[in-house]
Homo-oligomer: 230 residues x 2
DNA sequence: GTCTATACCGCGATAGAC
DNA sequence: GTCTATCGCGGTATAGAC
């Protein structure tokens, strides 16, 4: 964690944490996904299955991952998967629901914070990079395996994507209305910003030198320039 | 084709075309991939197989596309595929070789054009958006099915990606050296620009209002702002 | 080079004992 | 809720006639 104030202010540190002298209260990238599932799911067996499935789907993709692989990685027999999930698709969708829901909620919280459009846009971008990167394997699965889902399931994901789009769009509009942003083509700019944030997952590795939060901060700076708001 | 000079100058129009009063000599997005394969491959049967495979892989992904599906779409029996390709992976790799090679070649030509770093960066970005978008289904397959490839095949693709990275990087360095760009973190900026261009394929549809070339032009403008070169 | 027929395998999912 | 055993389907790839 090289950066100080802005990243720390957005990433969830509380004054209390800082009093204690902690530099970060975030879980490591390695454990963030586990922590998320532990928070959302009671049964330890299901937690293990979800984690195993994320690992398999991330490494090989949904169709190349067999239920046998997943079961083995979760220390279960192949049949045990079907006690907890009605199909492999169901397992995928549960992962997507949990991960996408959690990320959306946190970005909504970020967007609801006070601040002028420049600060808010910077924070939204920072969060849109940092939060998925923290759970990068799971978030990659969410972005990658969209085609596998049923129409109803796709609709669910699309609503979440639309909500994120709207957050960025309304922030851009505010900034334009306040005369703080200069944007040529608002729909293109909005789409570019959202896709830019998402694209981090196509190359991100936790072995890189920047933490998810620092990376998000750097992207926040880039986006601020894109809307000519310096 | 709404834009005039810059996009037209880069997208391959010749003075002769313009004399004739054509607004564009580009193939339609629908036929660009076919044209590419027709240019690179002699056998019409193999052309049909490649086109069918691109369609299947794009729609469902590599593992969810069966060789039966591909053969049927190419009006062949399932067995006929194996006369021309030794495996389904081989078919995929041939697609990737042709598409990635062609795009790289054209971007290299773009990068070799004269102009100061600002013009060159704009053109490189424009081409990096427009060229893949013209063959968007095939280019999406190239970006999406990387995990399927063998180590040797992956290395081939990685060399192409590195070459594209280097083109952007050296242009950014030039611009910084010339005092025309102001960049905080060069590696992050380079990665962001490349990923931004690639991310267009995650949402692009030929039904959108902007042509690939106009979209590339808009992205060129955005990137010029990212490096503070206006 | 194309076809029909088929070998062979591994997948998702289920049955039934414990 | 977990296991072992297994069903049945559909996949990739091949054999052999034309």
């Amino acid at each position: 964690m090289a950066r100080k104030t802005p990243a720390a202010a957005v990433s969830g540190s509380t004054p209390k944490d800082q009093e204690k002298g902690r530099t970060s209260r975030l879980p490591s990238v390695q454990s963030a996904t586990k922590d998320l599932f532990r928070r959302e799911i009671e049964s330890p067996t299901i937690q293990r299955l979800l984690i195993a499935a994320v690992d398999c789907f991330w490494k090989s993709g949904f169709h190349a991952s067999s239920t046998r692989d997943i079961a083995k990685k979760a220390n279960l027999s192949p049949a045990a998967v079907y006690v907890h999930f009605k199909s492999k698709e169901d397992l995928l969708f549960r992962i997507i629901q949990i991960v996408a829901g959690d990320v959306l909620r946190q970005i909504q919280e970020t967007a609801a914070m006070d601040g002028d459009p420049r600060i808010r846009l910077w924070r939204i971008v920072q969060a849109s990079v940092a939060l998925p990167a923290r759970v990068y394997k799971a978030a990659t699965v969410v972005n990658t395996e969209f085609a596998v889902l049923s129409p109803a399931q796709r609709k669910y994901v699309m609503q979440i994507r639309d909500a994120l789009d709207d957050i960025v769009e309304s922030c851009l509009k505010e900034g334009c209305a306040a005369g703080q942003f200069q944007i040529d083509d608002l729909p293109v700019t909005k789409t570019a910003i959202v896709a830019l944030c998402r694209s981090v997952l196509t190359w991100y590795s936790p072995r890189g030198s920047l933490s998810p939060e620092d990376l998000g901060a750097a992207y926040g700076d880039l986006v601020i320039r894109m809307v000519k708001a310096d």
